[in-house]
């Protein structure tokens, strides 16, 4: 028996709302099938099953808001010998987000009655104060029984029979409050700047050849089959990373786990503000045309507010490309738990020295922000050089 849980779709996610069941009890499910839609601060996310079998029962109705890790459904797996117990509490899979989002200027909590000496994390105290939770009634699960964020959140979620606040009818399913999106970005970036010792590198790359090659290729093709420069960047990056595993993976529980594949996250700006950076899975093994198709598909779905949980949780590195109308360069911020992010400015025609002559060339400013816990600037520089080298032979991408 497998348990289907509320997944963690990023370092900043603590709870989600089950919007819709797409599989009902008795339905066959296989690994990778989308079985539910969950609303998070990033929008409506399609959640895939990780097991193959039969969906036995839903444990929660649509509309439930529950913390990450909560069991949502039971899946009867073929040939399962051992029944796993139905957990009611979230497993400690994710590190306890105790010091998450400790705001700098929290007014002193109105100090509800609490036994002296009982430890409460600042985030938990803030949440309790905001939601009127009596801390003395909360059982702590942190170190030495300290009350951490999840504890007060659980207390809040399991307070009196929960009155579901109906969504305004005008709001389409999956629409995200801009403030929720902003809060999600703020939480992730605050954590990044607090925890990750960034270092930064920049490199001006002559992309004249790559763009000329792409334009010539696009000339003979209908619009549906045309490439964009971002596709060349994604593929160059993915190929370059095969030699630089220390930039490709996720940092969890105090150590770096290199990824076997490159799932390049692409920073996509949403119309009306905000951004997400979901993964293009197995970027290195896709052809350039497949990368382009994936990029178009992903952008369209992201902007329609519909993408998959694995796309949010899986990126092993991120690319932020400013596009042809952007500015010269970006100093990007790593998206935890990743350890590196590559920026590409707008390619601009500039006077450039080639063989002793000043020549107009299209120059693109590459930047890298990487995690000093895992790599050093020397290797980072070699990675940027390797991406540059790959771009000089676009036909080999």
């Amino acid at each position: 028996m497998g348990v289907f849980r509320m997944p963690s779709l990023g370092a900043d996610m603590e709870a989600g709302t089950l919007v819709e069941w797409l599989k009902k009890p008795g339905d066959a499910v296989k690994s990778g099938d989308i079985i539910a839609v969950v609303e998070t601060q990033k929008g409506a996310i399609e959640i895939e099953a990780f097991e193959t079998g039969t969906l036995e029962s839903h444990l929660l109705p649509e509309g439930s808001t529950v913390p990450v890790g909560t069991a949502l459904a039971m899946i009867q797996t073929a040939g399962a010998a051992i029944d796993r117990e139905v957990p009611t509490a979230p497993p400690p899979a994710e590190p306890a987000p105790a010091p998450q989002l400790a705001p700098a200027a929290v007014p002193p909590a109105p100090a509800p009655a609490i036994s002296p000496g009982k430890k409460v994390s600042p985030a938990a105290r803030h949440f309790a104060a905001e939601h009127g939770i009596d801390l003395s009634s909360v059982v702590g699960t942190g170190p030495d029984g300290a009350i951490v964020y999840v504890d007060v959140e659980n207390a809040w979620l399991h307070r009196e029979p929960r009155a579901e606040t109906p969504k305004p009818a005008s709001q389409p399913k999956g629409a995200v409050e801009p403030t929720a999106m902003r809060a999600a970005i703020a939480a992730a970036m605050t954590r990044s700047k607090r925890e990750i010792p960034h270092y930064y590198l920049g490199h001006a790359v002559d992309v004249t050849g790559a763009i000329a090659w792409m334009s010539a290729r696009n000339e003979a093709r209908p619009p549906e089959e045309r490439l964009l420069f971002s596709a060349l960047l994604l593929k160059s990056l993915a190929l370059a990373l095969t030699k630089f595993p220390e930039f490709n993976g996720q940092f969890r529980d105090g150590r770096f786990e290199p990824a076997g594949q490159v799932h390049a996250g692409m920073a996509i700006a949403l119309r009306g503000g905000g951004l997400v950076a979901p993964a293009i899975h197995n970027t290195a093994s896709l052809t350039l045309d497949q990368v382009m198709a994936a990029l178009r598909d992903l952008t369209t779905r992201v902007r329609a507010g519909r993408f998959r949980g694995s796309e949010l949780a899986d990126p092993t590195i991120t690319l932020t490309s400013l596009g042809e109308r952007g500015v010269d360069w970006v100093q990007p911020i790593i998206y935890p738990p990743q350890v590196a992010i590559i920026g590409a400015g707008a390619p601009v025609l500039r006077p450039w020295m080639v063989d002793g002559q000043v020549t107009p060339r299209q120059i693109c400013q590459f930047t890298l922000a990487a995690d000093h816990r895992v790599s050093d600037g020397h290797r980072g520089a070699l990675l940027l050089r390797e991406i540059e080298a790959r771009l000089q032979s676009p036909e080999a991408l």
Binding site: S215, E219, P222, P223, R226, R271, L295
Partner: protein, 85 residues
Amino acid sequence: MTPDDVKTILFEEIGNIAPEADLSALRPEADLREELDIDSIGFLNLIIALGQRLGINVPEKDYSRLGTVNSAVAYLTKSISLAGR
């Protein structure tokens, strides 16, 4: 197809790319992409959609001719008539 018909289709397709935009306030000589913040992918999707709706193939080198509403309508109308539609 008259320029007005073309403009109607152009606005419909722009609306799909930039659903929140108020197209009635769009100045006909303003830079379309600048004004509506349409990025490379959004613009490519617009070209694809217009190609399918109007039965024409807009080559990449002509993208700049779709810079404003007026120039886009003129260019598309001409392309349609050249294509014999």
